[in-house]
Amino acid sequence: MSFRKYIRKKFLFTIGLTLLLLALIAGAISFFSQKPPTGKIEAGRKAIAEAIKEEANIYSIAELTSAEKNWESAMNEWKENNGKSPIVRNYEKTIVFADLAIVNAIKAKKNAIKRKVELRKEVEKGIASLRVSINYIETAKEKLPVNHSVWKKYTPVALKLDEVESAFKRNDLTSAKKGLDSIYSAIDQIKKETKELLENYFSSYDKWIKLDAEMRHLSRVNNSVSLVVEKFSRRCIVYKSGRKIKEYSVELGVNWLGDKNLKGDRATPEGKYSITAKKSGRSTIYHKALMINFPNAEDRRRFKTKQANGNIPKNANIGGLIEIHGGGGKGIDWTDGCVALTNRDMDNLYSLCSVGTPIAIIGSLTSMDKIFDLTQN
């Protein structure tokens, strides 16, 4: 063997051996080094994706944020290890973080599903409950004087409730909940105020029923006509010989809710009166009119008491000239305290009444609960 051939053989052998050794080393490193935590990291990613699919980013923010942070930490650990030599790589921390990410993501998903259902129910219930309150206020509002503060307070909250419903319909539960929270107390307060106002007014209900019975009784024993003006339902009932023979729609004073206190308060008085004069032609500007004896003795006594208590100014006047007259049919309460009928109805009523005909002006013949039950139904 020539020297050249010997050298070539030796060279080839060295190269081959080096390559074999390198391959063995690489194989050993690959075999003995820690396996990458791809499976765990992937499981964490999938768990987070599933949680987001269930809107955990909206309904379980804290848990999802933890899961995402854990997963990010796992990734950072992994990246850091990948920068090291395969022999010294240690994925323990990566696996711990990935496991935490999985646990928190599963928790976030579960919470999101649960909270979404709960929130949906809560918002749905809230809307339904506020809708009942709003309907109550609306019903009451329609029956209250148009200048009452409830009218002013009603519109902004009713609009807001509509907005809440709109957000709920497009599945934006968090906005809907936020909106609900902003109107709960306002609606409750308006409802409370309205209810108290009406309860206070309806505290005279028994008295009204008695007055109605008295009018019916008088018409029976005298075999004549007597009238009952029922403010709440805006009607004038005509009794004859103990039976209701007619009923007319009426319009009242702008501030009709409650008794008349003083001149100029534009309230229609409540109590037992009688017709003192019949006016027609030039003696009235309202087609025909039936003057009543307001103020009566009871009105004067009440006026004096209120004046003495300081509820009415000392120089105030009790007022008068309360009539049942024509010119009505405007669809709103507009008089200064009188009771207005359409001219045609006034013609009929005028012909039925005479001077001395008893008349009771009362709040309502239907109890407050019944009025709202009927309206709600």
Binding site: R4, S30, T38, E42, R45, N147, S175, V254
Partner: protein, 198 residues
């Protein structure tokens, strides 16, 4: 001897080339991440949440795949499939941005249209209010209606602020509710005016 040296050199060169080609797609990944961040700025996560979330997850999967390749021995790394996916995802993010803009424009147009209707209704309400029966009969009722119109005017101001802030969905809720009220006022006033004419 020369031939052997040449062979070794060729093998070494090929190895270097292979290693050189199997580099992690850092720049592409950074570009994709920047794209998803800008999609968020466009509010894709609000207007097209499911699509946005799916792309965000795909990008996360790419990150995992990259690190998985990095965990392997340098000579066995392969980023070809990852690169291909990155190209697709980046273009999908671009498309999502465009789609988001389209969706936002659509919602904005819807809100603006409803707002225009609302403004027109409010103007009609005000005109009808001026024509409504006055005098002591209607004064209190007209004041109540005027109060409602004032509430609607305040709503319009709020809606405009929401539109300026890009919160079109909330603006739409508000506009729809206010429009219903404005229509109710119009009806109420028309009836009142009609009654007077009769």
């Amino acid at each position: 001897m020369k031939k052997i040296v040449l062979q070794i050199f060729t093998v070494a060169l090929m190895a270097v080339l292979v290693i050189g080609c199997a580099k992690a797609p850092k720049a592409e990944l950074a570009a994709a991440n920047a794209a998803i961040d800008s999609a968020k700025v466009y509010e894709a996560n609000r207007y097209l949440a499911p699509e946005f979330n799916a792309l965000q997850d795909s990008l996360n999967a790419i990150n995992v795949a990259v690190e998985d390749q990095k965990s392997k021995m340098f000579f066995s790394r392969d980023y070809k499939a990852i690169n291909e996916k990155l190209v697709v995802i980046t273009s999908e993010i671009g498309a999502l941005k465009a789609k988001t803009e389209e969706r936002k424009a659509q919602v904005r147009t819807e809100v603006q249209d409803t707002l225009n209707l609302l403004n027109a209704l409010i103007l009609e309400d005000k005109a009808l209010l001026a024509k409504a029966p006055k005098g002591k009969e209607g004064k209190a009722a007209l004041e109540a209606i005027q109060n409602d119109i004032t509430v609607l005017d305040a709503s319009v101001t709020e809606i405009n602020t929401l539109i300026t802030n890009g919160d079109y969905l909330t603006a739409q809720d508000k506009t729809t509710a206010a429009k219903v009220k404005a229509e109710a006022i119009k009806e109420e006033l028309s009836v009142a005016i009609g009654k007077r004419r009769r």
